[in-house]
Symmetry: C2
Subunit: 95 residues, 2 copies
DNA sequence: CAGACTTGTCATCGTTCGGCGACATCAGCT
DNA sequence: AGCTGATGTCGCCGAACGATGACAAGTCTG
């Protein structure tokens, strides 16, 4: 899940918190912030402390990865992997 | 590159900025912040505005991905792909 | 080495953040 | 419908953020 803006972040945090069936207060207690701060984060406020944001993501069991999108995408295996043994057996039967 | 703390972020931003051969002032101008703010970010300050941090990462051509580490890692191909034609030719020569 | 450029540090100012308390509103259950 | 718990909103206060200017220190090049 990509986060381009604080609004993206806010939506993500709310979704995750609900997925974990947690209240704003419980999350706030875990992170060590006020419930109102969680409300602001979920509302997509851009002026929040980045350190607290990172702690909150961590409290939700999420990781933050920063990467360069210009790097080539990893090659993805086809849905049905080729059965190498089958191919080799066929060649052995009929080279 | 995972970022767990603002200090991680700061190191990453500095590394990337230097990789792009940019000065702090140039980056600051691009993002619309003061140079001193960039200094603080690179120093790993935790109390900076998250919106500005996200904008800075974007200005450096970086993306932010938030994910659940419990999800299975994607299958990655080995560094040297198997040359199927070679394998098949070998079997044809010596089944 | 000197000079130019870059980065680090400090202090000040106006604005606003985060915590708090309080209340309003919404959501779910019986 | 009433009740309970969860969430949204508002205002106030002290702390500190971000911009600015200035200077110190570090780095690089000819």
């Amino acid at each position: 899940m990509y986060a381009r803006t604080p609004a993206d972040l806010g939506r993500l945090v709310r979704w995750r918190r609900r997925a974990l069936a947690r209240t704003q207060q419980a999350l706030a207690d875990q992170v060590g912030v006020s419930r109102q701060w969680i409300v602001r984060l979920e509302a997509g406020r851009s002026t929040l402390e980045v350190g607290l944001v990172m702690r909150t993501l961590r409290a939700l069991g999420l990781t933050i990865e920063i990467s360069d999108p210009a790097e080539p995408a990893p090659v993805v295996l086809p849905h049905r992997p080729i059965d190498l043994d089958e191919v080799l057996a066929a060649v052995r039967r009929n080279p």
